[in-house]
């Protein structure tokens, strides 16, 4: 079982050597020469520099297509027509599974056809030099966004290729993204990734790391998401990461979202070492979207409005085509501009929302309890603690597909639309906190004249795509809104 200790240079070296042979592009990686490439990049392409010095929330979309030229065109479009401040490269699903052979086939097939046969950019297959072509061709810094439990080779290739930010983490890219990876292994794999980032950082090339805050994207209670961010931040800091962007996915309740982002920032400062620069990223609604672009624009706009009030360092935008499939570049750019309009119209307004402090205190108390449980479970070691805590269910994520988590905790919205916990299962929370959740959900149940049940959870899962925030029952036994609103 891994412990939260820094990998030695030797270990780093040895693992890197082993990985080199997993796919032929691994052999292109040369650390010294990579440092030189990074040093040749202007400040405007240095991820941490741009992000940490920004005076307004920066916008970043998601985007990845299989072929290099198309990926360049896509990102350039998002930069020029969407006004993206930071660029992404979303990796395909085969690469996420380390199935480079299949990715190679998909890439070849995509090259020969109009259709994209991969749902992202297979960076390992492209190799170091093609990654650099991408970096050179664009004016903004670029991040690798993926969902890969074992992202070691991906990190080696992309960091050598000039990317300066790397999303994910041992929990956030395991629990929501896979079924059979155990946490001990993903922690070890990410210790390597973080150590590699640390190695660059020590040589003056700061690599930004961004744990994936939204987790399953579906009604995740803020305290759970934040606890995972803190644990991943701590693990990364141990390996020498010095630029950390902690994430949080919009739940749609303005007060709760602002409170959660403030709590995330405050707790980040509290739990992470001083030498780490902590920034925050807000993800526009990550759950099911309305099957209607007009309504989707409303969801996106509420995200923009929330960002204008909470002022995170970065916002990951959605497109109005989120429901349907990978968006066209036009729709992707439209999501950026809609968000930008909201932020720029609202950010100078003095918006003082009542109830934020109270909600923030509740989130912080709850997160403290979860962090406490992790540390206790690990006898003071956060790596062991998080494995034990997920194993026992003391820490858990709703709708987790992974065998490594109980996935037994269930969220539901209260009468105000804030996400509360309906089923705690073994979540390590003190009774007084549980009572607050229960009381709020009790209120809602009374308002609706029905019992709390999985039906309520299911209604809440569908609510936003059905056009509401809260999945209230309607006369006909179906939640309000409903398919008839779509077009």
């Amino acid at each position: 079982m891994p412990t939260d200790e820094r990998l030695s240079d030797d270990q780093l070296q040895r693992i890197a050597n082993d990985l080199r042979d997993n796919w032929h592009t691994g052999r292109q990686v040369d650390f010294e020469e990579a440092i030189a490439f990074h040093e040749s990049l202007p400040p405007s392409k240095q991820f941490a520099t741009v992000l940490e010095s920004a005076d307004r929330p920066l916008l970043q979309p998601r985007a990845g297509v299989p072929c290099l030229e198309e990926q360049i065109d896509l990102l350039r479009y998002l930069q020029d027509e969407g006004g993206a401040d930071l660029l992404p490269t979303t990796i395909d699903s085969y690469t996420r599974d380390n199935e480079y052979e299949k990715a190679e086939e998909g890439l070849a097939a995509s090259r020969g056809s109009e259709e994209n046969e991969l749902n992202g950019f297979p960076a390992v297959n492209h190799g170091v030099e093609d990654c650099r072509r991408l970096i050179r061709a664009l004016d903004a810094p670029v991040e690798v966004r993926h969902g890969t439990p074992d992202a070691r080779l991906l990190a080696m290739v992309t960091l050598a290729g000039g990317f300066q930010s790397f999303e994910g983490g041992p929990i956030s890219y395991n629990i929501p993204y896979t079924k059979r990876h155990d946490l001990a292994t993903t922690i070890e794999h990410w210790q390597f990734v973080d150590r590699l980032c640390g190695a660059y950082t020590e040589r003056g090339v700061t690599i930004n790391r961004e744990p994936f805050g939204p987790l399953t994207g579906t009604l995740v209670p803020p305290s759970i998401a934040i606890a995972v961010m803190l644990v991943e931040g701590q693990l990364a800091a141990t390996q020498g990461v010095r630029s950390l962007t902690l994430g949080y996915g919009q739940v749609g309740n303005l007060v709760q979202d602002v409170a959660a982002l403030r709590a995330l920032r405050a707790l980040g400062e509290e739990y992470l070492p001083d030498e780490v620069t902590v920034t925050t990223v807000f993800h526009e609604w990550m759950g099911g979207f309305p099957p209607d672009e007009a309504r989707a624009n409303g969801v996106i706009s509420l995200g923009g409005a929330t960002a204008a009030v909470a002022k995170p360092d970065k916002v990951i935008t959605k497109s109005p085509q989120e429901f349907q499939g990978v968006p066209t570049k036009e729709a992707n750019a439209a999501g950026l501009r809609t968000t930008r309009q909201l932020i720029d119209m609202m950010i100078e307004q003095d918006i003082d929302l009542g109830g934020i402090d109270e909600e923030q205190r509740l989130i912080e108390r709850t997160t403290h309890a979860l962090m406490e449980a992790v540390l206790t479970a690990g006898d003071g070691d956060v790596a062991r603690g998080v494995i034990e805590a997920f194993d026992s269910g003391a820490l858990d994520v709703p709708f987790a597909p992974s065998d490594a988590a109980k996935g037994a905790v269930l969220p539901a919205r209260d009468d105000d639309g804030r996400v509360r916990i309906f089923e705690f299962a073994d979540l390590a929370l003190p009774d007084d906190i549980k009572e607050i959740h229960a009381a709020r959900l009790g209120e809602r149940a009374r308002t609706e004249g029905r019992d709390q049940s999985f039906r309520m959870v299911a209604d809440d899962v569908d609510a936003i795509s059905d056009g509401k925030l809260i999945g209230r029952p309607t006369g006909d036994g179906k939640p309000a809104g409903g398919a008839s609103d779509a077009d």
């Binding site: 599974d97 896979t178 066209t328 709708f399 299911a458 569908d462």
Partner: protein, 146 residues
């Protein structure tokens, strides 16, 4: 006697929310649901169908690789001597495709029915009942039992 259906997300897809909702809806409608979860291989679908003597296999896919992941599934089912009803549903194509083309593709691959992501669980259940020739009374019976 409740009818058994196999449910799962194929390939390396991890989108679990849809099948969680589906499982619950199918169970309350009286079906016996074997939920294989996410990232289920074709083999797992086939052997589950066999060992549970299932009447239908419900394949879910959201992440855009459904076509690749489902290729050969029907051949495997045939090879195992299984003549079950097969449904596929979710976001079946990469990008903003026209659903009718997608439906055609999956029908040709052998699926009895193809559902898009706007499908309400009740809609799938109604089709399942009619395809399995459950009479309304039988269906209601099941509901009472379930």
């Amino acid at each position: 006697m409740p009818r058994t259906v196999i449910l799962g997300v194929i390939g390396s897809d991890a989108h679990v929310v849809g099948i969680t909702i589906l499982e619950q809806a199918l169970s309350s409608a009286g079906f016996e649901v074997i939920n294989l979860g996410v990232q289920t291989s074709q083999d797992e679908f086939v052997s589950a169908a066999k060992s549970h003597d299932a009447e239908a296999v419900l394949v879910s896919s959201l992440y855009g690789h459904a076509r690749q992941d489902c290729e050969g599934l029907h051949e495997e089912l045939d090879a195992a001597g299984l003549d079950v009803l097969t449904y596929v549903g979710g976001n079946l194509a990469v990008g903003q495709n026209d659903f009718e083309d997608t439906r055609e593709t999956f029908r040709e691959m052998g699926f009895d029915r193809v559902f898009d992501a706007e499908t309400d669980p009740e809609e799938a259940i109604a089709k399942l009942r009619s395809d399995l020739q459950l009479t309304t009374t039988e269906a209601e019976q099941i509901k009472v039992d379930g």
